[in-house]
């Protein structure tokens, strides 16, 4: 039974499913480490998904049957741009206007949910399919390796970018001055401010970065995995991404572990349906959420949460 389930293709599909979670959660990790909870990730993801999809379809030469490098580059670029704009807007609302972060995020989510749907209905008459990211062209001896070939060497570029982002996040947060500043601002903004760190500037940076990565997460769905756009295609993945940051205790490694666990369970559940295991689909689909709650129970017993999380900073001038 287990052998039927835990095949190379299931692990490979788990790795693919983990990709958008990694982008979005690592971005959110930066924001939360600096003390800002952005609950609007899902909305930014949807905007990134739609806009990159639109760009790829727009820049692909007419009648082209295969992928087009320029079009894909434009897709990623547009996603980054949209993420930048929405990230800046989020930062303005949460940092400058000091809005209640749990609620402003719902506003950003609804904005992205509606806007991506609106633009999609206005620009595409019917269901459109694009030529998305191809698998990276590794030499045959690598892709043909038993098990490892399928698990490691048959993914799109975005998958490798997302996984590369894990050590980068760790390095930036723990080994650079910037990371030190981010952590200081999230832990004790008053002290950081007294040391001459601009709390506002640091938070703008992290929240905007989070927006860019969330948009890339959305683009991963629309131009690398499904190659279509649909209304509400993220189906709440952005909210899960926020939960994964708590799950991973605000560490890159923890986020990686959480994203992989969550995606593997999802992949297994997709597979279990085909193997004919007699558990209702819905119960299997529930397991990641139940696991997350259980993990949060254990994670929250530790006291790693950035002390200033969700607290706007006021210099008291």
């Amino acid at each position: 039974m287990i052998e039927d389930l835990l095949t190379a293709s299931v692990v490979a599909s788990g790795i693919r499913i983990a990709t958008p979670y990694l982008f979005a959660s690592l971005g959110e990790t930066f924001g939360q480490r600096s003390g800002v909870l952005n609950l609007g990730v899902d909305g930014v993801m949807l905007m990134g998904a739609f806009c990159s999809f639109w760009a790829v379809s727009e820049f692909t030469p007419q009648g082209s049957q295969t992928w087009d490098a320029t079009a894909l580059a434009m897709g990623v670029l547009v996603a980054i741009l949209v993420g930048l704009l929405m990230g800046l807007a989020t930062a303005f609302i949460n940092v400058t206007l000091k809005a209640e972060q749990g609620i402003s995020g719902i506003g950003i989510y609804l904005f992205g949910l509606g806007m991506s749907d609106l633009l999609f209905q206005k620009t595409f008459d019917q269901v459109a399919i694009i030529n998305g990211f191809p698998k990276v062209g590794f030499p045959n001896f690598l892709t043909d390796l038993p098990v490892l070939g399928e698990v490691l060497f048959q993914h799109t570029l975005l998958v490798y970018m997302a996984f590369a982002l894990v050590p980068v996040t760790w390095f930036v947060l723990n080994k650079t001055t910037l990371g030190l500043n981010i952590r200081a601002v999230g832990q004790n903004p008053e002290a950081a401010d007294a040391m001459g760190i601009s709390v506002t500037r640091v938070r703008y940076f992290t929240v905007t970065l989070g927006g860019v990565l969330a948009a890339l997460a959305g683009a991963t769905l629309s131009i690398a995995q499904h190659n279509v756009f649909q209304q509400n295609m993220t189906a709440g993945q952005g909210f899960i991404a926020v939960a994964l940051v708590y799950f991973g205790a605000w560490r890159a490694r923890g986020v990686l572990f959480g994203a992989l666990l969550f995606s593997l369970v999802t992949a297994l559940q997709l597979k279990a349906g085909t193997v004919g295991i007699d558990i209702p689909d819905e119960y299997l689909s529930m397991t990641p959420y139940v696991l997350t709650i259980i993990a949060l129970v254990f994670a929250s017993q530790r006291i790693d949460q950035p002390a200033a999380l969700t607290k706007p900073f006021d210099r008291g001038e």
């Binding site: 950003i108 609804l110 609106l118 708590y246 119960y283 997350t292």
Partner: protein, 398 residues
């Protein structure tokens, strides 16, 4: 900034702060007008012939608006309780779903019982189901220190999947079960369990006052859910501001530490806030079943059942300044936006998703403009040395 100088005048400032939510809606509508122009639609036509006509143009439109406002109001008064209690309940969607499931199950299981018993039983059942679902997040927060925003989001997903399972395999109607391509839906609840329509009563009132009435309301689908919701809004207002328990909920929301020193069992009240908040959302689901849909249908997912009311109810409550009575007009306003959006789509061919965008903008503007409310409160605190009705702190207990 000129605005800030103008606001030094305390009276003007007070007016400004009170009108902020309205300013937020107008700002969102203005932005929406620009978007309409970009989409080659006439904003005046869209707002007047679409949005306004669609929401208030005919008796049927008004009835639809009130029907849509009912779940928003019920979720909204629950949100007033939880936010006042310092707890952010994002789980309205899930709580509505379990409430709807409870009402459906009770109604189908005891379909031969008397409606005088079963209608209240279904409604109470839906309240209890929502209360349990909300209370779960409350217990997780109070005793296991799990952030309620996250747990309620997870519980939303779980409830929506659970609904899919129950409607597809346990509660599914015999007819669908035996069909070749079954639609996941339950039997219709007995017609006697439908919430009473109030159209005829309204016509009687019209006649009583000598107003021209020719069975105008009797043909609408308006049911008494809106009346239940308004009565409950008044009761919740009394509960929050005129009872000890209500006072303690608000005290915990404002300052958990001080409340603990004052001998209040903070954890109990955190759980209670979420229990009540979830209960009202559950009741919204129950009323949706008895008053509007009369069955559960899992096609189109959970959002087809809730209509996003779990989120939009938060908007209504915020818009009503987290005051149950303020939430009444706010719920009607957002009900109108939702109903009018459909007409807008037909009149100017702009997808009704525009309304979701506008609602998102309203939230952002309302919470973004809170900075002025707070500034005013701070100044009053520093001048008088006493606090005033401020937004509750929603930082939770440490």
């Amino acid at each position: 900034m000129q605005l800030n100088q103008l606001l030094r005048n305390p009276r003007l400032e007070r007016v400004f702060v009170t009108l902020l939510p309205l300013v937020a809606v107008i700002a969102a509508l203005v932005l929406g007008a620009f978007m309409l122009i970009l989409m080659n639609a006439d904003p005046i036509e869209a707002y007047r012939d679409g949005l306004y006509e669609g929401a208030f143009g005919t008796k049927n439109a008004v009835a639809d608006t009130l029907i849509k406002a009912t779940p928003l109001l019920l979720v909204g008064i629950g949100i007033c309780i939880s936010f006042r209690g310092g707890v952010i309940n994002i789980g309205g969607e899930g709580q509505m779903i379990v409430g709807g499931l409870a009402a459906t199950w009770l109604g189908l299981e005891f379909r031969d019982a008397s409606p005088d018993v079963m209608i209240p039983a279904c409604l109470i059942g839906s309240f209890l189901a929502g209360a349990i679902w909300g209370g779960l997040a409350g217990v997780l927060k109070a005793y296991f220190n799990v952030n309620e925003i996250l747990s309620t989001i997870m519980l939303n997903q779980i409830a929506s999947l659970w609904m899919g399972y129950l409607v597809r395999s346990v509660l599914i109607s015999e007819k669908q079960k035996n069909s070749a391509s079954p639609i996941p839906e339950t039997d219709r609840l007995p017609r006697e369990f439908d919430l009473p329509r109030i159209g005829e009563r309204l016509d009687d009132i019209y006649k009583f006052f000598g107003l021209p009435s020719d069975k105008l309301w009797a043909t609408t689908l308006l049911h008494n859910g809106i009346i239940i919701a308004i009565i409950l809004a008044v009761l919740v207002y009394i509960f929050l501001w005129r009872t000890t328990i209500g006072y303690r909920i608000r005290a915990v929301g404002k300052n958990p530490r001080a409340s603990r020193y004052a001998g209040i069992q903070v954890k109990h009240y955190v759980v209670l806030s979420l229990v009540l908040s979830g209960g009202f959302a559950g009741l919204a689901g129950g009323i949706q079943v008895l008053g509007v849909r009369h069955r559960m249908n899992a096609e189109g997912g959970a959002i087809a059942f809730t209509g996003n009311a779990g989120f939009n109810g938060i908007v209504a409550a915020l818009f009503g300044k987290l005051h149950p009575l303020g939430t009444i007009p706010a719920a009607v306003l957002f009900g109108a936006l939702l109903v009018g959006g459909n007409k807008l789509q037909r009149v100017v061919q702009v997808p009704s998703a525009l309304i979701t965008v506008l609602i998102g903008l309203v939230i952002v503007f309302v919470v973004g403009s809170d900075i002025w409310t707070r500034r005013r409160t701070q100044r009053r605190v520093s001048v008088d040395g006493a606090g005033s009705e401020a937004q509750p702190e929603t930082e939770g207990i440490t």
